[in-house]
Symmetry: C2
Subunit: 341 residues, 2 copies
């Protein structure tokens, strides 16, 4: 099916676009009252993720309500550990929690390499959403980057320092590589499955990139991201490593199309580090959307000018915060859609 | 009194040193069994901070046990909000918590500018510690940077995003400046008091620098750090802004002696950004101290070579984690003390 709006795909590939496209991380989520209404009907976050009809409904909501240029499938990065044999719970107001964590070579050997059919509910949700979107905008699929998945599997929950996960790297480096490779193989299978199900574009989220040193990031993170980039050749591919300011030069050498930036990364400096062969995605501070409309417009226009007319996909530098007003989100999206260079 | 070991002071001023000096952030703390023993006798963390005899005892412990080249007064950055009229509690395993937070111009107008006598227990602890140290090593005093203090006063506790504190900047920028100026004036008074009490060196901690964009960091953080640097001319002064990778160039222009680096900041790149007029402090990943002794030695020597023989004060890139073994900390300290270029 031909897409009616393929701005995001063209921007990712460095082709001409009439205007800068925009979508938002966490656009399908608590910021929308319509999402909260669907969520209230369900038992919880995981039930929503695992029920294709509901995942489809909340995935499309921001396309209708906010007018964004892409949908991103409503899911969670932690479906991968679960498919590998390490289940988790999403604890309200606390975040993910794993009853069992990975501590030893024996724990790692018991994990399986995930196959697309292990995550059939995600594939079903993608197929259903593609049908329901009916070509209005592209559908983005995603996965967590291996280091971030590893950090949850070894730490067992979120953390300020991820010191347990990092301790594993320092004390059992060989076993760490073994686990990272299993996660990487699972992730490639999973992303290939998402492409087969209809995803038009893919993004890798390395949420905890910022806790590693540059040397450890090379060894335990970039190495595996690079394998995934090399394996995904069918659709445009984005890598977003939050807080990995130190890795921008090496990110420029990955075989992906787009690099996500957070708001601490200066735009001109990032372009210099990354080079001209990549599209940049981001990078507004989500907290700007607490400001008044005039400030939101002014700062958004400033950001657009800093990125320039080409090879930019507008987004925030991280996910939307749940207490942001929908009108402010619309103001951000509309400012981008109305802007012309 | 003449100091028997003034390596840290000479390194800060860019003078010749026979070897690289070392101290550790959080060296007085839970990592030492001797600290835990003192702590167990007290009601809690704040009681320890507020009792000069005990603060003195735990301040000197790492000089005896670890052989570090400086002591840092055992205290807390949040004594400043309290002295301004905003008390806090330290909740076990949770961190600081303010019953009342700053929300409006009216809240700000009720705050006082702190004077040294409002923090007489810190001054007493410094005087006592200087006497007990008897010139063995310099005593470092410290304060939180204005943005970090502001973020606790408006957020009311620690936070992953500090979105309430940042919302204040976006929605009430003028009031934010008013509060930041009051904090800055209080901090200058406080640091001048520490010098009068005998502190040989001072450090400013901007723990939450990394949540701001470069533009906001300039406007709401660096502006006030710069005022403090200009006001403190009596003793060597260090600024450590964790995660403020984007501000390194501007840090090089501050009128301070030393800039702290965290472990995500490449050493050579940081030197280029900051220039040759500053001493650099840091920057080992605290998690290295989970590794075996051989790895600790090898990585520590590598760090020393990367910084070079001059204008370096060895330290971690953040505070020690409480579950690190004392022998590993000693290994780090000894490797530095034994190293010769």
């Amino acid at each position: 099916m031909t897409l009616k709006n393929d701005l995001v795909l063209r921007a990712a590939k460095g082709e001409h676009v009439e205007r800068t496209p925009v979508w938002l991380m966490r656009q399908a989520g608590r910021v929308l009252p319509e999402y909260r209404a669907v969520r209230a009907k369900m038992g919880g976050f995981k039930q929503l993720v695992e029920t294709p009809e509901f995942a489809c409904e909340v995935t499309i909501q921001p396309v209708d309500i906010l007018g964004v240029d892409a949908a991103i499938i409503f899911s969670d990065i932690l479906v991968i550990p679960e498919a590998m044999g390490l289940p988790y719970q999403m604890v309200e107001a606390k975040g993910p929690w794993f009853e069992k964590t990975i501590k030893s070579a024996d724990d790692i050997s018991k994990l399986k390499i995930a196959q697309p059919e292990d995550l059939q509910y995600v594939m079903n949700a993608i197929q259903l959403t593609k049908r329901e979107l009916n070509g209005r905008v592209p559908l983005i699929g995603f996965a967590g980057a291996p280091w971030t998945i590893f950090s949850y599997m070894t730490e067992g929950s979120g953390s300020k320092t991820f010191s347990k996960a990092k301790k594993f790297l320092y004390t059992q480096p060989e076993q760490a590589h073994h686990l990272l490779q299993k996660i990487t193989d699972s992730t490639i299978n999973y992303l290939k499955g998402q492409i087969a199900a209809g995803a038009d574009m893919l993004q890798l989220f390395d949420s905890w990139a910022g806790v590693l040193s540059p040397a450890q990031y090379d060894e335990f993170a970039l190495k595996y991201i690079s394998q995934i980039c090399d394996a995904i050749t069918e659709v445009p591919f984005t890598v977003f490593a939050k807080d990995a300011h130190f890795a921008r030069k090496k990110m420029g050498a990955l075989s992906c199309d787009t690099i996500g930036l957070d708001w601490t990364m200066d735009i001109a400096e990032s372009r210099t580090f990354i080079g001209n062969d990549k599209t940049l995605q981001g990078n507004m501070d989500p907290c700007l959307l607490y400001a008044d409309m005039e400030t939101i417009k002014k700062e958004t226009q400033k950001m657009l000018r800093q990125f320039g007319a080409h090879r930019h996909i507008a987004n925030l530098g991280h996910g939307l915060y749940p207490d942001i007003e929908v009108d402010k989100v619309k103001c951000f999206v509309d400012t981008i859609k109305e802007f012309r260079f």
